[in-house]
């Protein structure tokens, strides 16, 4: 199934000059935008699955309230993509189910 993004660039939108890696694939993003905005601009696929039912979710409220945009960013799990600004070279992974704690040391 094709999951096209439902968002289109506004006329005169700034160029995509940043690179971020989503699940091993490099994407481009705009300086100053949130990780959630960058992900929504790519495609319409789920960016996490919920811990209890496994249902797919994408960013929703875009203001730090709904926690539906959780992703792993640079190895840190359950980060709010809508509250995190894109950095060049950032590594993002979709959050599948509940997070894990670090292995026993």
């Amino acid at each position: 199934m094709k999951n096209d993004s439902r968002f289109r660039d506004a006329p005169g939108a700034a160029a995509r000059t940043m690179r971020l890696c989503l699940d091993g694939r490099w994407l481009t993003a705009r300086a100053g935008e949130s990780v959630a905005a960058a992900l929504l601009a790519q495609d319409g696929a789920a960016t996490r699955s919920t811990p209890v039912s496994g249902a797919g979710r994408t960013p929703f409220c875009m203001m730090g309230v709904c926690f539906d945009c959780l992703v792993t960013i640079d190895g840190r799990q359950n980060q709010q993509a809508c509250m995190t600004e894109v950095r060049d070279g950032m590594v993002v992974e979709r959050q599948q189910g509940a997070r894990r704690t670090a292995a026993a040391s």
Partner: protein, 369 residues
């Protein structure tokens, strides 16, 4: 209007619903009067422990009553699930108390020895030093000086328990009034009682059981009870859900069946249920001391709730002297004691010859001589 109930239970929390369920199972016509949503509700803010460890160390009747309760929990959980279709998620595989202060550990160990002396053969607990713990729970914090373990302890999902009780009551024919906000209970000269709600409605009934938690401190004296009940605030943190299972249950750290970690155990005299930054920080520190791996885990929610305490911390089960047919039931451990409140206590309210002797829990122990 609906018919007048034979027995009115004032309070739709865990205690009131257990009593209502028990009386309905004995064939009585029962109506539960539940207050407004914004009332202080220990039943919606508690930690869900089914806990024996240390209970009644200084009061044998309470040790025995708690022991009987934890022994009855598995059967009660099955009964509730069958009646309601809701599984309260009982896990009863033993629980720990962790200590960072060896002196506190030693003092608690003495309590457990006293409790064990009361309960006799068949009751066991364990004392664990740092090496035992490191072996049994790899990942335990180095600051933990030792722990005690009671194999009978466990926990439930308290919100699911509350829901299961409500559905079980409905399935058993109990009527409930939501948002009833009872403001007065009067004994009538001809016998029976008149219950008046904030909205002006009045209902008459033959018997009344007061299970209103902190509200019983106000309503109790209207029926001649002392009702010496005070509030104690406890604060709680809850983390994001974890895929890995915490390998232990303690009285202050537990993993909810759906994966989140609940951290609690603060105690402060207070009448309001707001959280404080200092107590929340202390809870987080404690959790990391016990299980350092939690340090990176995010806290999602926090809340405070008010415990319902008597002066000595034990339950009150009291028949009104002035008003036959009126009963006061109040306790702190409404979850642990739930199986007995839904069975043995209903026998006692009915005056059944087979009922347990609950004189040890009457209010006369608070009389000023």
């Amino acid at each position: 209007m609906s018919a007048q109930p034979g027995t009115a239970v004032i309070g739709g929390g865990i205690v009131g619903l257990c009593v209502a369920l028990g009386l309905a199972a004995r064939g009585h016509d029962v109506q539960v009067f539940d207050g407004p949503d914004r009332d202080m509700r220990a039943s919606q803010g508690n930690f869900g422990l089914v806990w024996l460890q240390g209970k009644g160390a200084g009061y044998a009747p309470y040790a025995r009553w708690s022991h009987e309760a934890v022994g009855a929990w598995a059967g009660f959980a099955s009964r509730l699930t069958a009646l309601s279709g809701v599984d309260p998620a009982l896990r009863q595989e033993g629980g720990y108390e962790f200590f960072t202060d060896p002196a506190e550990l030693e003092q608690f160990a003495q309590d457990l020895h006293r409790q064990a002396a009361t309960l006799g053969a068949g009751h066991a607990f364990e004392m664990l030093g740092p090496d035992d713990l490191a072996h049994r729970l790899p990942g335990i914090g180095r600051e933990v000086a030792g722990a005690t373990f009671c194999p009978r302890d466990g926990h439930v999902n308290p919100l699911r328990l509350h829901l299961a009780l409500r559905k079980a009551c409905l399935a058993s024919g109990v009527r409930t009034s939501a948002g009833a906000g009872v403001i007065s209970v009067q004994g009538l000269a001809a016998g029976g009682f008149s219950i008046r709600s904030r909205d002006g409605r009045a209902v008459q009934c033959r018997r009344v059981v007061l299970c209103a938690g902190l509200g019983s401190a106000v309503l109790g004296p209207q029926l001649g009870f002392r009702a010496p009940i005070r509030a104690q605030r406890g604060e709680l943190l809850i983390t994001e859900r974890l895929a890995d299972r915490l390998p232990f249950l303690s009285s202050t750290i537990r993993q909810v069946d759906e994966g989140g970690i609940q951290i609690g155990g603060t105690k402060a005299a207070a009448d309001t249920d707001g959280e404080t930054t200092g107590q929340m920080a202390a809870l987080a520190r404690h959790a990391i001391q016990v299980w350092p791996r939690l340090a990176e885990v995010n806290v999602l929610r926090s809340w405070a709730a008010l415990r319902v305490l008597t002066p000595d911390g034990y339950p009150i089960y009291q028949r009104s002297v002035d008003h036959p047919g009126a009963f006061l039931v109040t306790c702190h451990s409404g979850v642990t004691l739930a199986p007995l409140h839904a069975t043995r206590l209903a026998e006692w309210i009915d005056g059944d010859p087979a009922a347990p002797d609950l004189e040890a829990f009457d209010e006369e122990r608070f009389a000023v001589s």
